[in-house]
Subunit: 340 residues, 3 copies
Amino acid sequence: MEFTLGQIAALLGGKAEGDENQKVNRLDKIQEGGPGGISFLANEKYEPFLYETDSTAVIVSEDFKPIKPFKTTLIRVKDAYLGFTMLLEAYAQFTKASLVGVEEPSFFHSSSTIGENHYRGAFSYVGKNCQIGKNVKIHPQAYIGNGVKIGDGTIVHPGARICSDTQIGNNCEIFPGAVIGADGFGFAPQPDGTYKAIPQIGNVILEDNVSIGSNTTVDCATMGSTVIKKGAKIDNQVQIAHNVVIGENTVIAAQTGISGSTEIGKNCVIAGKAGIVGHIKIADHTTIGANTGISKSIKKSGQTLFGYMSMDVKDFLRSYTLFKNLDDLEKRIKELEKKG
Amino acid sequence: MEFTLGQIAALLGGKAEGDENQKVNRLDKIQEGGPGGISFLANEKYEPFLYETDSTAVIVSEDFKPIKPFKTTLIRVKDAYLGFTMLLEAYAQFTKASLVGVEEPSFFHSSSTIGENHYRGAFSYVGKNCQIGKNVKIHPQAYIGNGVKIGDGTIVHPGARICSDTQIGNNCEIFPGAVIGADGFGFAPQPDGTYKAIPQIGNVILEDNVSIGSNTTVDCATMGSTVIKKGAKIDNQVQIAHNVVIGENTVIAAQTGISGSTEIGKNCVIAGKAGIVGHIKIADHTTIGANTGISKSIKKSGQTLFGYMSMDVKDFLRSYTLFKNLDDLEKRIKELEKKG
Amino acid sequence: MEFTLGQIAALLGGKAEGDENQKVNRLDKIQEGGPGGISFLANEKYEPFLYETDSTAVIVSEDFKPIKPFKTTLIRVKDAYLGFTMLLEAYAQFTKASLVGVEEPSFFHSSSTIGENHYRGAFSYVGKNCQIGKNVKIHPQAYIGNGVKIGDGTIVHPGARICSDTQIGNNCEIFPGAVIGADGFGFAPQPDGTYKAIPQIGNVILEDNVSIGSNTTVDCATMGSTVIKKGAKIDNQVQIAHNVVIGENTVIAAQTGISGSTEIGKNCVIAGKAGIVGHIKIADHTTIGANTGISKSIKKSGQTLFGYMSMDVKDFLRSYTLFKNLDDLEKRIKELEKKG
C-alpha cells in the first residue's frame, strides 16, 4: 500500500513541511532509509543521519531545529516516537484486517462455529465442537483440537497447536510452533521402578490480550486449569507446567521455565532463562533477573531477585564480586595463619 | 459420556451411599465441583470442601467419617486416590480407544503398512516403507518420514515429527511439536575457518513405553543409534543430542539438555534445566537437581547432585549459604588483619 | 543403493585388498558392523574391533599394519577418517539430489516462483510473491510465508516455519520445527500497567551456508533485519531475539539464548545453554562455555569465558574450587579469630 505524506500527516495530526503529494510505501530506520521510505527521529544520537538520509520523509517532533541542510521532507508531530508507533500500528492493523477467507484444503469440523471476517489458512485444522469468535485468523497448518473456545480478534500463527478444551480470550496472539494444552508431566512411580502416566484431564485458559511466543509450551492442568491471566506476555521457548497460574500483565522472557502448580502474581517481570520451582507463590510486582533460580515463595511484593539460587540482587552482586576474587581472600587467610 | 454412580461404584469395587441412578459426566477438583461432576477426597486438608461441594458425588476411603452434614453422595472405596486414578485411566483409555479412522486429506505412501484400529488425522504424513503397528494414533499434521517403524498402541500427537529410519516401540507417546531423529549438530572445522556438515546417517530408537514431551528434540546418531530405553519419560523442550543413551525408567524434566554421546543410567531422576556435557556416563539411580551442570562422569550410583558445576547437594548448599554471606567473611578477615 | 568395493575404492582414490566385486549398501560403526556394511578405522582404540568385525569392508589408512588375522576386506586410502567422510557426503548428496517433484496436496501461490529440481512435500505451504531458487527442497508441512526469498540448494525440513519477508541464501538448512522471522518480543508499558505490542516490521536475513537447528527460533527485527551471516551454524532450541547479528562461521550449541540487538562476532564458539544479554557486542573468535552468562560486551577477541556471570575461564575455575570448600575457609577464619 502507498500513502501520500499529506495522508500520513493527517493520520498523525501533524504537518508535512514540503510536497504533500510525495508517496511512501515502507517504514525505514533513519540510518538505512531510501526513496519511498518514511523514518523517524526521536533520539538525538541519530540526528546526524537526518542530514544524510535518502528517506522520502522523516517524522520529527514539533520543536526539532535542524542545524544543517537535508534532502528529506520533515513531518512534524507532537511526539516523533509516538507518531511513528501510530504508523506502525496502523500498518499492522491494516495487514491483519485484510487477511480474510479460507484457503483449501483446510479441515473444519461441521460441529464447530466461527464468526465473521475470519481467515483459515491451508492445512489448518479445527476439531469438533469448537466455538470461535469473529475476526479470528487461523494461519496455515495451525491446529485447534476439540472443544476449544476462542474469543474475537485472536490470531493463531502457522503451526501453533491449541489442544482440546483450551479456552482463549479476545485479542490473543499465539505464535508459530507454540503448544497450548498438551499433557503435563505427571507420572506415578510404581513398585517395580517403572512410571505410570497420570491422566491429565484439565485444560488451559488464556484470558484476553495474552501473547504466547514461538515454540513455547503451556501444559494443561492435571485437573482444573492452567491459567494465564489477561494481558500477560510470554516470549519464545518458555515452559509453563500444569496448574501454573500467571498473573495479569506479567511479562516472561525467553527460555524461562515454571514448574507445576506455581502461582506468579500480577505485573511481574521475569527475564530470560529463569527457573522457578513448583508449588510456590511469587508476589505481585516481583522482578526476577536473567538465569535466576527461584526455589521458595516470594511473599513481599516489589522485590528484585537474582542469582543461581535467588537472593536480593544487590546482595548477590556483592557476593559474586568476592567470589570472583575468592583466591585473594584465601591468600589473606593464609597470610594471617602464618602470622598467627 | 455419562455414567451412573452405580456403574462407577461397580467399576471401582466400592459402594455408593445414596441414589445409585444419579449421573455424572465430568471429573472435578473437590474445591471446584459442580452438579454432574465427581470428585475425590484423599487428603484431609481438603475435607472442609466436602461439606460445601456441589459435586454430584465424591469418592472417599472406606473408613472416612464425616463430621458435618453435606449434600453430595459418597462413593466409598478402599483407597480414594487410587479409585480416582482408576477413573482417570478409564476415561483416558476410552477417549483414546474411540479415536479410529482416517481424516482426509492425509498422505500415506503406498509402500507403508499400518495395523488395525488406527487413526490418521487430516494433513498427517507417512512416508515410504514404514511399518506401523495396530492401535496407533497419528494425529493431524504429524509427520512420519521414510523407513520408520512404530509398535502397537503408540500415539503421535499433532505436529510431532518422526524423521526417517526412527524406530519406536509399543505404547509410546510423542507430544506435539517434538522432533525425533533430525540431524545432530556435527560440523568439521575447515582450514579457512568455515565448517562442513558431517552427514548424520544414524537413527533414533525409542523402546517401549517411552514418553517424549512437547517441542523436545532427540537427534539422530552420527552413526548407529541415539537410544531412549523402555519406560523413560522425557518432559517438554528437552534437548537430547546425537548418540546419547538414556537408561530404563529414567525421568528428565523440562528444558534439560544432554550433549552428544553421553550415557545416562537407569532409574535416574533429572530435574528441569539441567545441563550435561558430552561423552560422559551417569550411574544408575542418580538424582540431578534443577539447573545443575554436570561436567564429569558420575560413577557411584545413588548420589544426589546439585549446583552450577555439580557437587553433592549438601556440600553445595553449605557452600552457597557461605557464598550468600561472603561479604561477612571478608569483613572478618579484614578485622583479623587489623588486629594482626 | 548398492556399490561394489571397487567402485568405492575408485571414489576414494584408494585400493581394495580383496574381491572388488563384493557389494555394500550401508555405512556401519566398526564395533557394530555386519555383512553388507562398510566401516572405517581411524582411531587405534578401535583396532581390536577390526579383527572381529563382520563388516564386508573396512576403510583403513595406507600405512595400517594389522597384527592379527581378520575376515573383512581392507580398503586402503590416504586418510581413513577423511575417506569415510567422503563416503558419508556422497551418500548425503545422493539422497538429497534424488528428492525431486511435488506431492499433493500442497499450496503454492500463483504469484511465487521456484527453480528447477525442486521438491515440495505434501501439506507444504508457499505464500505470495516468493522467489525460490533451484534445487530447493521444501519438505512436507513446511511453511513459507509471503515475500520470502530463498537461494539455490537450500533445504527446509518438515514443519519448519519461514515467516513473511525472510531472506535465505544458498545452501542453507532449516531443521524441523524451527521458526524464522516470527515477531520479536517487544511491548511498550502503558500507564495502567498493561503492555501494548510494538509492531515488528523488520525481517530475518540468513546468508549462505547457514544451518538452523530443530525448534530454534529466530525473531524478525523490530525494524531492519536480524542477520545470521554466512557459514554460521545454530543448534536446536536456540533463541535469537530481534535485531541480533551473528557473525560469519560462528557456532552456537543447543538451548543458548541471545537477547535483542546483540552482535556476535565471527568465528565464535558458544556452547550449550549460554545466555547473552541484549544490546552488547561480542568480539570475534570468542569462546563461551556451557551455561555461561554474558552481561557485558567482550571487546578483546580470542578470550575464553565461563561462569554464571562470565569471567576468564581459569579465574572462574579457581574461584569455584574455593567455593566448593568455602566451609573450610570459614573454619580457618574462625580458628584465627579464636587465636586473635
